[in-house]
Point group: C2
Chain length 701, copies 2
């Protein structure tokens, strides 16, 4: 069932949507949803996703429905069993991935849309762990084979209870004992308990453990990783010297077993040290293998992968939420000017709440494909000893993936919430799926870096380049060109808005102005603060975040997203009817995001005084006008993004539009819908000991 | 255990917080948290709440912990049993409520902080139902007595599957049959299924059912309510002719049993008609008792009560979330300029994310107390046949409670989410309670009116007054003075900003300008649209929502909130040290909310050109400066708002500040923390059928 087997006739892979109330709007769309889907993700990906989804729907183990209620232990059992089944089905081989690297995120998205715990458990224990294992330990080949064949189960263990973002200060120790040629692992305090390690709670046999390496002379050489056997694969019990626990219930992702762990003089062989960056001699001398900056570069690359994928997961959640909300809005009717009620999608407020997220679905989808291509280029380059700007590529990918993960995570969060509220009471049903999306998605805004901390990675990168430009006249450019315009910042800061809110180019110019303005302002502010704090960069940066560096990173991201979408829309091969719709979405997205930065454009006088009287109104009226123009496209636009009903699994958003039948189905099938609770005699027989009437009460007083 | 028994020495009722890491900041506060608590809620309320909380903590039935995982059926059973126990304990008598009406919301808040399902179930089945029952049916006295003594259990049934906000179009029918002197209830379609009725799912014996009244001549007289016996109180089974189901799992509030219901020629006696507004003669003639406008006035009053209480519930959630986030931030340390890490509350971003919500907790708390006083005045007046402006009072309360419910609901939603993210990974633990707060609170933004629809109630009210001023020179004023300044709109629109961002008075003036500006702009826009649509007010209003009427209602609310806080802070009796802190919070709240309207102030030239260059920066710098000034007060400020640890029930926010001990407690006590899953042989023995190595795979290809 490898990718080659997929039929080339992709159109046939996509079934027509069933007839029903949604036809009203489907007929009005100006484009063919199947062609649009293939345009925005490529035929291979479309075909691959369709194939995977069909397979899942046929697999008995993957049966589910929208109203089911599982206990945490049932979720755990099912997630594990399904993960195992995924290994058997093996949708893609490594070779397919090399031929079309887009199949990797497509696989993650496709399974994730079905169930996030499942794909997170899969990726953490397989792909992520293998990437770590392959590059480092001495017996890595055997281990990788064990992992792939279910003889071992891996996890990564970094975070401690008291240290997350600040990994440098982790407290777990690995002390080398030259006598036995072993490292001794210890958890020195309650606060140093390893926590949040995914897959550790119930299943992992191996963990990549991050600990402070101590040589026998009691000298600390900083954080290193070790491949540690934590459970006996025969019995699945932790080895003596290790305590492992399951972290229990979380807000979401409860199919995933996050674990915590203590070491008590737990001994591991010398070879457990992941030694690509440094090693230790048998008499206990520490030998670094790469320079600190090389190490940083490599680390940045690996960390970026996680963020690139989380960006994609966020976009997938945003898309699913908006599919649900738009379909519901096109079929739900309420009020109207005459006896016939309007579908609520006809209301300005509903359009204004939802359509910017429809636009975001497309604009961010394109951003992801484009960023992923950059990441693949970087990845390929990093294995090429000749080609030279690995470090620069790594730094730019790091900068882009950091802000992308943060802003996409937040946009998806807001889209899910707006969708939940836009679907009213029915959106509050568990069976609508919006609650599950929100709870599972929530983790994306925290793991692999808190969003606000990540934005600092981007602003640090930008400020560094800007500083070198100012101080040393160094040209600002980068391998993927995201920062090149900054080189022209002096001229950009002299420009004024050309007044054309209907032109994406004009908005890109405005965005570049915002980025340059924030760079300049942040630089000025930083200099003042550095003086105030006698050069203490830590304190200076701290007081330069809100409204400065944080806004800078967000605006920089949005600018880049819009630039990439502009490039995409300019491709000659796009049929004109599709281009028209795509352009409208690009414009809507740009206006909707730039609206939040308009104060900067006023304060900086980028909006000249003589036109300032209506700039805000122009932006806002254009947003509303675009929403109105997209109204008849919206259902087809979300059809493009929608997985099959079985995967979307929402009782308020079936593709047949028969919302009330499906809601009633969910209501009447939930567990115990028509059953009397077994405690009903608590009402019928056992009355509470209260005073029997108001008059008796008064008599008593 | 009535209120009189509560000791007058309130200070003694409040225990000191246990010593621990939070002392660092507690010691720095400029005021006494106990005095502040009594100042902002009154001694009676403080004492009452303390008493209730202590009682709950001692009741075995109310035992809970932060890591417990209950199935829905366990939640239902417990909620029911606790509700029954609350009736036995009877914290307050009706007399106490009359003496101090603030005890009513205090009771709701106190129990709600413990568990929202419990208090919602209690209020819906008791207070809300009784209010409905008492005023209307013929045998209401007996029924009320039955309800209070657990012989009957009531619910309200309005919403149908296809109709929520648009109640006028509900489809359930009640046709009078003169032969038998009965009404015949029918559910004419699947879409007309009654849904969301709280307490109906498993428990109600009686329901106030809203249905279209048909006389025997087949004439429809519109929506009326009927007291319907739905279950036999002896067996708890639905009567023949009624199908009742439980709606199953929801996003939150799963202790509450929402139900759905079908009628199939279900006959109820003639006397079931709730006949205070209209009645029917025995030969089937319809007799209205009140005019339509009288009916509207009375209805508005009843509906307002729900919104007033939801406003309070939202504020309570906002407060609990911010208590958790501030305590966590004051004890969690990460990074730092030297070897000692900083508590994350020291970071500008963290302050900027959280402290505006600390301010909102106080400003909105005061708003609620003030609005509630207005509501009580209205309520008392409505029973007074002489005093004349009931209608005006009702309309103003309706306007205020509508926007209050919407904006407070959203602010609480955002506060909970920001708190969740600000607490990082640990905030994602179920035991942190933020997930539960979010899921339970979510309903507040939908039930008793979708927020966006509610805002239209406020804008309609304002626009009507404004129109009468413009067209008929009618003075704008209202019983509770919330709109009085609008009368002076012409002069207000001529004013300019005085530039003082540190003065709450200046900000109130700016807010009043914003409200008047939006009124004027909306009126102009409406006139254009009315012309465009030939006087069709429905379409005109629809296209005047985003940026106009919606913004108007929000700004009007915020202005009113700030005015009321300003009045409160000016009270002579407030000690100066407390006034200083309160003033800072008022200012922070005002700047933080007005920032979102600054574009209006630019576009309208309220900010004169010569100062516009730094208005945005001034506002923002002042926000940051106030955050920084409040940093050492924040822990004490949330101590004022915090329920006891047992009620707050968050493993990351105990009042002793020992976060890691409590987190570890939650981790190690959750169900199955150290247990092997019973499916572990799925890994150790039953291997998946996959190819055993990459080389074999290649050989096969």
């Amino acid at each position: 069932m490898a990718v080659e087997e997929i039929t080339s006739d992709t159109s046939n892979m996509l079934s027509e949507w069933p007839p029903g109330p949604l036809d009203l709007y489907r007929k009005k769309a100006s484009f063919d949803w199947k062609k649009m889907r293939m345009l925005i993700e490529g035929e291979d990906v479309t075909a691959f996703k369709a194939k995977v989804w069909r397979t899942l729907e046929r697999e008995p183990l993957f049966f589910h429905n929208s109203w089911e209620e599982l206990t945490r232990s049932e979720e755990r059992r099912l997630t594990f069993a399904r993960m195992k089944r995924l290994l058997e089905i093996k949708f893609v081989n490594e070779e397919d991935y090399l031929t079309n690297p887009y199949l990797i995120p497509a696989f993650v998205q496709t399974i994730g849309a079905y169930n996030w715990s499942l794909i997170v458990k899969r990726v953490l224990s397989q792909e992520y762990f293998v990437t770590n294992a392959m590059t480092n330990t001495s017996d890595s080949e055997n281990l990788v084979d064990d992992i792939k064949n279910f003889r071992a189960f891996g996890c990564i263990s970094i975070t401690e209870m008291a240290h997350g973002s600040n990994t440098k200060d982790l407290k777990t120790t690995a002390t080398f004992d030259a006598k036995t040629q072993e490292f001794v692992l210890n958890t020195p305090s309650l606060e140093a308990t390893k926590v949040w390690s995914g897959v550790l709670g119930q299943t992992a046999t191996h963990a990549v453990v991050f600990a402070q390496l101590y040589t026998p002379d009691n000298k600390c050489h900083g954080l290193h990783s070790f491949m540690v056997k934590v459970r006996d694969p025969k019995t699945q019990k932790p080895f003596a010297g290790i305590t492992i626990g399951d972290m229990g219930p979380k807000i979401g992702l409860n199919g995933l077993d996050n674990g915590f762990m203590h070491f008590n003089n737990y001994r591991i062989p010398k070879g457990s040290l992941m030694n690509s960056h440094a090693d230790i001699t048998s008499d206990g001398k520490y030998v670094p293998r790469v320079t600190a900056s090389e190490k940083t570069g490599a680390t940045l690359g690996i960390l970026s992968a996680g963020r690139v994928f989380i960006t994609h997961m966020s976009i997938t959640n945003l898309q699913m939420a908006i599919v649900i909300a738009v379909r519901y809005s096109a079929t739900r009717r309420q009020f109207g000017p005459s006896t016939e009620e309007w579908p609520i999608i006809e209301y300005q407020t509903q359009q204004w709440r939802l359509f910017p997220y429809v636009a975001a679905s497309y604009v961010l989808n394109n951003f992801f494909f484009s960023l992923y291509q950059d990441y693949v280029d970087f990845f390929v380059t990093s294995f090429n000893p000749v080609y030279g700007n690995k470090g620069e590529m790594g730094a730019e990918i790091h900068s882009l993936s950091s802000c992308a993960k943060a802003v996409c995570g937040w946009m998806a969060r807001d889209a899910i919430q707006e969708s939940r509220e836009a679907c009213g009471g029915h959106g509050y049903l568990k069976a609508a799926r919006l609650g599950e999306l929100r709870n599972d998605h929530d983790a994306n805004n925290t793991y692999e870096g808190d969003n606000n901390v990540l934005l600092q990675q981007t602003s640090n990168y930008l400020m560094k380049l800007f500083k070198e430009k100012i101080d040393n006249q160094k040209t600002v450019n980068s391998p993927f060109s995201s920062v090149n315009y900054i080189d022209d910042y002096e001229n950009i800061l002299k420009t004024k808005f050309d007044g054309d809110v209907h032109n994406l180019n004009s908005l890109i110019k405005a965005y570049r102005f915002i980025v340059c303005w924030l760079l300049k302002q942040s630089d000025t502010k930083m200099n003042v603060l550095l003086k105030k704090y006698n050069g203490d960069i830590f304190r200076a940066r701290n007081e330069c975040q809100a409204y400065y560096l944080r806004s800078l990173a967000i605006a920089f991201f949005e600018c880049n997203v819009i630039e990439r979408f502009h490039t995409f829309c300019s491709e000659q091969s796009i049929p004109e009817n599709m281009r028209t719709v795509l352009n409208k979405m690009g414009l809507l997205f740009a206006l909707w995001t730039i609206e939040k930065h308009l104060l900067i454009l006023y304060e900086s006088n980028y909006i000249a005084v003589e036109v300032s009287n209506n700039m805000t109104t122009s932006v806002r009226e254009t947003i509303l006008s675009l929403c109105s123009q997209l109204k008849d496209e919206a259902v087809a636009l979300v059809d493009v993004l929608s997985p099959p009903d079985f995967i979307l699994n929402s009782c308020i958003a079936h593709s047949d539009g028969r919302i009330y039948e499906h809601i009633f189905d969910a209501l009447s099938h939930n567990k115990g819908a028509f059953q009397q609770p077994d405690w009903f005699t608590e009402f019928t027989e056992k009355k509470p000991q209260i005073l029997t009437s108001d008059s008796q009460l008064k008599a008593k007083l």
